[in-house]
Subunit: 183 residues, 3 copies
């Protein structure tokens, strides 16, 4: 039994949708992400939900605030990844990140493509800003668990590598992969 | 039976080849694209064929003209995607597009890789400019149907999302995927 | 039997590691690349090994020097492809290359993903500078052969296309794919 409990990990849940931000549409993506994380994480965490419109400057500001002011080690976005004019989440993510992580988008498109041929229209990406990993997910709630199932096994080790907290997963659900220590 | 027939969709067919543009080589890529589209589309369309050399500024100008002056909802390019010095089609595409669509290149390389290991040398991409989707294909005529078969099921819905005409496909050949309407 | 022997191909082997460059850690990636090349190439070649720290400006300078001064047709890097702050090999590669070759990173991540789910954290890429192909590999020695096995069949033809020497492979090990000549 640990002597002291580590501080809970802060995780940003960023819903990007003009209609949800104006209250014309119930946000279903954000709650789907929260439910997924509650199911998968067994170390302590606090969700930081934000709902904003599809404005690149607002998305950039929200990612920076969640990283720098809220201390999030992980920010999961939903929405704004398609080809339409208002879909600018990948551009905002790339604009603020210091490093891009192309493997996340590649793998998520690959698994979504097993379900629908329009998966190639999703421009979702991932990147690093400071000690935070930002991962874009599509807007469709049913695609959220599918995409996270594919990439989540790599997320805890990624957060270790960028100096974030040690996330532990419910291994019945997701086995977080960490290479064995070498000297 | 519809009361009025919608205007035919304009589709740019852009052959990019120094030798074909100088008449030293018969363009086989452009006709292969036209034949493919004739086979697959059952809504009305008009092809806008253009043959130019491997000059980045000319390729950019041709894409802009086909989009803005010719009203193309789709521009399919062939040629100029390899690693050689004169191969600059992806650079020209990226320079003019407002959004990049990485899933197209990923999927086309994946299917071509099942045929030849040199498929990884093809740098083809896709992107959006205004209401036009630009898709790069390799120069080899036999790779054209193979690549289009992989991505075409997603093209009509992509064009819907960017405000273009409603393309209908011959479902014996290609089933265009459109998600069921939600409010 | 050839009348004259062509000049040996120069191949850069660039280990990028703070610890290896300071001698705190034995470089195992560079020797693994050399051993792989010795096993696979049957035309003559000379390895140009370099060990440097994870500094973007140093990596850029080393790639340029190997290309321009050492006449390398191929530079294989190991290390610096992860998400940590000091991992900047892909950024350095992209900064100096004239063309990027996204298919290499996609395929290497795909094959590594069959082994470990954290393969998506590797940001490795490839690109062209002048008549040189630069390919990033991960730092782990055991991932080196795995990644090179996937992409090597396309490397000799790529080097043909950018004006480099004719590399021949040991076909028991790797079959270099070259399309049949057309007029």
């Amino acid at each position: 039994m640990p002597e002291s409990t580590p501080a809970p990990a802060h995780i940003g849940i960023l819903t990007i949708s003009d209609r949800a931000s104006r209250g014309e549409y119930e946000d279903r993506g954000g709650p789907a992400i929260r439910e997924y994380l509650a199911d998968v994480l067994c170390s302590e965490w606090i969700g930081k939900p934000v709902i904003i419109g599809d404005e690149q400057s607002e998305i950039e500001a929200a990612i920076k605030r969640l990283t720098q002011d809220e201390g999030c080690c992980l920010i999961v976005t939903t929405g704004g990844t398609g080809p339409a004019t208002r879909d600018v989440t990948p551009e905002a993510t790339e604009a603020v990140c210091e490093k891009m992580m192309p493997g996340f988008g590649e793998l998520m498109r690959k698994v979504s493509l097993e379900k629908v041929p329009t998966a190639i229209l999703s421009r979702q990406t991932a990147g690093i800003l400071g000690s935070s990993l930002i991962v874009n997910l599509p807007g469709q709630p049913k695609a959220i668990a599918e995409c996270l199932d594919a990439v989540f096994p790599a997320i805890p080790y990624c957060i270790d590598l960028i100096g974030g907290p040690f996330l532990e997963t419910n291994e019945q659900r997701i086995v977080a992969f960490r290479p064995k220590k070498k000297k």
